[in-house]
Symmetry: C2
Subunit: 104 residues, 2 copies
DNA sequence: AAAACATTTGGCTTTTTGGCCAAACAACAA
DNA sequence: TTGTTGTTTGGCCAAAAAGCCAAATGTTTT
């Protein structure tokens, strides 16, 4: 059981933390990664082939996502595997599609 | 009835449109606005008093949100009223709170 | 018409972000 | 050990975003 959370207008750090999550998803490459990671963990190299970007660029995108708190990383062997820590993304994306669809 | 949408990995413009929505919510001020607008339309002046920003800054934030497709604007008298066009935000925010909460 | 109010637009500066390269690390293979 | 592969880090530069001021626009009031 939890005590009531203070997510009010005046809780600035909380708004910042949430905005950070949106910002982390606010780039086509990172949103693509999130979408893929929603179907299971992937190593950096697997994500890299999805976009035509430098490995270092991919790594930095993943760092942004990790610092926002939406992915976890685990090193296994010589690979690093990333996983999405957010089950509700798919639902929200579906809703987004409706919003964006109706204005086309 | 609609034909099947092509939201695949390879549909770049679609990812960009969705990322634009996340980016529009990826700023504390704009997320605060969205949160308030979720409870009903507000005029620019009402939003302005919530943050300690210049009126022109507020107006530009609202433009970003409008161009992402998540708010509508309506001019009535000398005021402009903005409204959120996304009912699913509250649910997603609640989920976010869980994700962010568990790592505190 | 002039003044007052609400909002947007243009211009400008500072800060942040994105992307590439090269270098550093870490794990594994030869 | 040396080499090879996978990943991160640091540095740099170009592009985009944020915020302020001043000016323009549109509406209502006097």
């Amino acid at each position: 059981m939890q005590t009531k959370k203070n997510n009010s207008i005046f809780n600035k750090p909380y708004y910042e933390a949430r905005a950070k999550v949106f910002k982390a998803l606010g780039h086509p490459t990172r949103l693509l990664f999130a979408d893929h990671l929603a179907r299971g963990e992937k190593c950096v190299c697997e994500l890299q082939v999805l976009v035509h970007a430098d490995m270092s660029t991919v790594s930095k995108h993943l760092t942004v996502m990790r610092e926002a708190g939406i992915v976890s990383m685990e090193k296994r062997g010589s690979n690093v595997y990333y996983a999405l820590k957010m089950e509700c993304l798919a639902g929200f994306l579906a809703c987004l599609d409706q919003v964006l669809g109706t204005q086309a």
